[in-house]
């Protein structure tokens, strides 16, 4: 998982399989089962997707969970959840969640 380690400002990463088990990890998130459970819960939080609001051809590429000094970026690739914790240099961002 060298590719994830090379992401700028990253302080930790997690790769989870579709059951939520940790496949690979590093940095601050090394073997962080607790965070793995939270992320899996976040990604599978819905049991019904409104196809009018979220048509299948326009689904999200990533979920960012932003805090003041760091953010978690989550994306799905090859049926695996990739999570990267990145430091934020700016100070004016509030705690919120943005999906893009």
């Amino acid at each position: 998982m060298l590719s994830l380690e090379r992401i700028p400002d990253q302080v930790g990463y997690l790769v989870l399989n579709d059951d939520g088990a940790v496949v690979a990890s590093g940095g601050e998130l090394e073997n962080d089962e607790h965070m793995a459970n939270i992320i899996t819960g976040l990604v599978t939080i819905t049991d019904k997707i409104d196809t009018v609001a979220f048509p299948p051809e326009e689904s999200f590429k990533k979920i960012s969970v932003n805090f003041e000094s760091y953010s978690y970026v989550v994306c799905l690739s090859n049926k695996k959840i990739h999570v990267v914790k990145r430091r934020i240099m700016q100070e004016d961002t509030n705690e919120n969640q943005e999906a893009s």
């Binding site: 090379r6 990604v43 299948p56 960012s64 932003n66 989550v74 799905l76 509030n94």
Partner: protein, 201 residues
Amino acid sequence: MGCCYSCKEDLNSQSGEVNERTHLLVDPVSNNTAIQRVHSDDFIAQYPNSLPKKSDEQSALNRILQETATNVIDVAALDSHNLEQHEYLERMRHYTQRLGAMGANINLRFKRSENAVGVGGAGAGNLLAPSTLGGSSTSPSGRLHLCLLSDIPAPEKVLAEDHPNPEDLAIISGALEKATKALSDLKVEHREDLVVPFRIP
């Protein structure tokens, strides 16, 4: 014990002695039957040859029996409705017909959602999955079958993108706060009576 007790009581009441077991109140039921019995005995004694009374009693008993039978719901008799062979066939034909009419439509929707999400390998067993899951990803195993995220080829590229613009985040936070406030302010205003009396003639 109960039998002994009642016998004793009977003896007591017959002999008319008053002791601690004597009832203060007279039992109305036994009283009534006693009167009845005495009355009918008297009647038969008076007219020993008149048989119609007996048939009257018989018919009255029959009437009571019939009334009871109509008033009682026999649960054991209410057996589950067994389907006959021709009913099975009829239903099967009906369902097949309906499925045939709907089948093309379902297949079309299934294929469309599968292509859009890019998850293959779902067999015919998942025929109804798109309609029940709202057209989302149909991977049957794992917890990712319902996920807002789409599977993308190069995760590191997406993950390495710049952080969202703080101004965008502020807009989203503001909109979210407004929505939360609007939802918390939502209330039902009641104008008319919830219970309305029907005009029953």
